[in-house]
């Protein structure tokens, strides 16, 4: 589907955005308190970071920052006090790769037939490395609230598209305007090993060939431009190329390449490109990293594991099978049915499938055990599954501290945000998540989320479900 998306449609959507915004804002409930207010969370279980806890502590939030945290700290008189008895507060979560808050371009209804499929216009062929995701940010996109309600407060977001969709940014999952959301822009050059149907590059091998060619030409053009800049007389003026220029920060190692790397072969192919070209790398949305875990460890790539997991085999289905078998046996004079070759074979295949699912579920534990620092990403995860998936990873051997680190401190470190985010310490940005039970507890519900010191109160999920039923 993505392959059909067109840049022209993005431009169209952008043009419409100002018209749509006021209407959406009216419907949206405003945050309870505007930025600049002071809050005090009192009597709260403070999980400052993995393994750092204060029982019944106080967190003071002032002007968007964490002003103070401790067992007994002075509460400013102007503070709105939130009696958080028996609640738990954590640093807001950081998402390594997502499209939360990014407007999806409209799909073109009819695909225009390209005259010469071997030489399509760059924008149609997915070659848009110069595009800045900031052009598509919308704080009112429902994905922002969805992810924030889970405790995510910062995300590295990328434009829609395939192959080279553009430049990523780190955004706050809050704020009123697109600019207010942005924490850091142009954080990485985003890429996927996916071509465009019906035109070049279509296959993965052509995508990789084109990657090499663009990179090499960017290097050449960049050196020539530098030479020209040093003395502009007597040599031809270098050609202007906005596509190649987008690679310059990558060539200078100032910006990494952020690759969607779901499958184990994606990871290996991305390493091939990395080794050929020498860029610094962020591997995100990794789902099958365990077979090449040693390669990943020695690569120095920054790693974000996917919070998407394959579905568990439901126990209910098995029960149904048994019931059916019973019915059958009644019909055939109550003889217990012997296992057929087919049944035995099915058992063996399902056992292997269950083992495969277990490998995906225990990936995070394996990375933790191997000492590879990793964060999480949510690009292909359904928001309703994320908390359950975290619990499955923990059940498969990931410690709760390691899970928390992967949501907070490690991504902060991998994305260069440790001075501002990742823990509950005085001076850091007030991005917090407050839950009624320890976050990884099955019954835990998020009650408050703070983004940039702005409080978002959650009514609890049950009420929401009722609402959605009513609207149907």
């Amino acid at each position: 589907m993505l392959k059909k998306l067109k840049v022209t449609a993005w431009a169209f959507a952008l043009a419409l955005m100002p018209l749509l915004l006021p209407a959406q804002q009216q419907e949206e409930k405003p945050p309870i308190a505007p930025a600049g207010k002071t809050f005090a969370l009192t009597n709260v279980n403070v999980v400052q970071g993995p393994g750092r806890k204060i029982d019944k502590g106080i967190v003071i939030i002032k002007d968007g920052l964490i002003a103070n945290v401790g067992k007994s700290v002075a509460i400013p008189s102007e503070a709105i006090i939130i009696k958080a008895d028996s609640l738990y507060v954590y640093a807001g979560f950081i998402d390594g790769l997502s499209r939360a808050g990014v407007t999806k371009p409209k799909e073109e209804r009819e695909r225009e037939k390209i005259k010469d499929p071997g030489n399509p216009p760059a924008e149609k062929a997915g070659i848009n490395p110069q595009i800045d995701v900031r052009n598509f940010l919308n704080p009112d996109d429902k994905s922002v609230e969805e992810m924030r309600s889970l405790g995510f407060t910062v995300a590295q977001v990328v434009p829609y598209g395939n192959f080279l969709p553009g430049q990523s940014a780190l955004i706050m999952l809050g704020g009123k305007t697109a600019d207010e959301m942005v924490l850091t822009s142009n954080t990485a050059l985003y890429s996927e090993l996916a071509g465009t149907q019906g035109m070049y590059p279509n296959t993965v091998m052509a995508v990789m060939a084109k990657w090499r060619e663009l990179y090499k030409n960017a290097s050449l053009t960049k050196s020539y431009q530098a030479s020209y800049a040093s003395n502009r007389q007597g040599i031809a003026r270098p050609a202007n190329d906005h596509i190649l220029e987008a690679f310059y920060p990558v060539i200078d190692q100032r910006t990494p390449v952020l690759f969607k790397s779901e499958k184990v072969l994606d990871v290996q192919r991305i390493f091939t490109l990395k080794n050929d070209l020498g860029f610094s790398l962020q591997l995100a949305e990794v789902k099958e990293g365990w077979p090449v875990i040693n390669k990943i460890k020695t690569s120095n790539a920054k790693v974000f594991l996917s919070l998407d997991l394959p579905e568990e085999i439901k126990k209910d289905e098995k029960k149904d099978d048994k019931k059916e078998a019973k019915k059958d046996s009644v019909k055939t004079a109550e003889k217990p049915k012997e296992k057929t070759a087919w049944d035995k074979e099915k058992e063996v295949l399902e056992k292997r499938k269950a083992e495969a699912i277990a490998s995906y579920t225990s990936q995070a534990a394996a990375f933790s055990k191997a000492g590879i620092p990793f964060g999480f990403s949510t690009l292909s995860a359904k928001s309703k599954d994320i908390q359950a998936n975290l619990r499955r990873m923990i059940a498969a051997g990931l410690s709760e501290d390691a899970a928390l680190a992967a949501l907070t401190t490690t991504p902060a470190q991998l994305l260069g945000l440790s001075d501002r985010l990742g823990t509950i310490d005085a001076g850091k940005i007030a991005n917090l998540v407050v839950s009624d039970k320890p976050y990884f507890n099955e019954k835990s519900k998020v009650r408050y989320v703070f983004v940039d010191g702005v409080m978002y109160k959650l009514d609890g999920k049950d009420a929401k479900k009722d609402d959605s039923k009513k609207t149907k």
Binding site: P117, Y200, N202, T203, A206, E355
Partner: protein
Amino acid sequence: MRQHLKNSTMRSALTVFAFFFTMICYAQEKGTLLIKNGTVLTVTKGVLSETDVLVKDGKIAQIGKNIAAPQDAKTIDAKGLYVMPGIIDAHSHVGIDGINEATSPVTAEVAESDVVNPFQIMIYRALGGGITTIHAMHGSANAIGGQCETLKLRYGTYDADAMKMEGAPRTIKFALGENPTRVHGGGSGIVPRTRMGVEFVIRKAFTDAKKYSEDWDAYNKNKLVKGFRGAPPVYNLRLETLAEILKGNIIIHCHSYRADEIYMMLNVCKDFGIKRITFQHVNEGFKVAPELAAYGAGASVFSDWWAYKFEVYYSTAYNAAILTKNGVVTSINSDDAEMMRHLYHEAGKTQKYGSLSDDEALALITINPAKQLGIDSRVGSLEVGKDGDITIFKNHPLSIYGVPQYTIVDGIVRFDREKDPDDMRLMVDPKQSFDDSFSKEKIIDNCMDGTELMLNELIEGDKN
């Protein structure tokens, strides 16, 4: 029908996994192994009865009588069995993700080496047919297709790079005739629409590459001059690759059927000074066998497969024999995951159609494809110093009763008929439903795979 047979084979009970796990550990290792008392078909040095073959650290260390087994070496008792070099398939599309970059008539820059897939179950099944090395090729949609990759069937590894035959020369796919004219002329309305057009596309590509090479040579020479500040030529990976062909660093493997187009391509090679070329399929090769031999071009053919489209009607099962007797380095290939599993039968047919000797017939699937891929110093015959790639047969491999028992790559047993679990998958799709495991297995090993969209139609059962 073929699909049905495959399914029923798979339906036998699935039980053992232990073997699968031990294989993973061996993935990149080289093995030491002693094969005792077999009938050794060296292919190049005659037949040796009751002879031992010792493989040490992946290489054939000794061939002779009464070789003492090194400590801890695995020993295979091959008494009454036939020991031959691992079979080589010079034309396959197995082990790769993506066969055709069908969007342009010239795509020399794309390379199958980037998309090796070591998990395909077809690789293990090929081992079951005694295959140890395959030429994993780009498809035939383009006049000049992509670069191919020579793979060793080290099934069990998760490392795509470990499948590549280290040091094998680079090769590239070319295609003449109906496929490129249909995809690009018919599908996109661009050159080539005719066989003349195909020749033009190839000649133009080489001419451009020559110019490109000269431009870069001039730039690199100028750069040595002090004070030179000129702009570099635009880097073009396609022309870069074509220039490597002109320099003799990449062997052409050219899909072709008709004698006229084969002769045309020989003339193109002559005009551009290209010496290394093997023609693939080459069904009318028998008409130009002396010309092929004189040029030193190879021919890689089917035993008896034709009439699947207009340009493939004029064919004969004597093709391989006629080419061989004319001195053309000839191989028999499969271009098909199923046929690959009985390439030894395909070679055997040349004894019925053409009365080739055992050595000549076996050479068609061993040393000759090795020569065509430029790997004959490493594989293709049983000689001391060569890679320990060996297939052991019950009954003579050219006999209709021949059945592979062991397939050995680098001295590691990769297939053992006695220990052949039903489920040899390395990666299991966690979303796959039970029934899919049987009926929806997707086999993608088609020469024209990836061209459907270009043609705006599905070409059912259209191969090659």
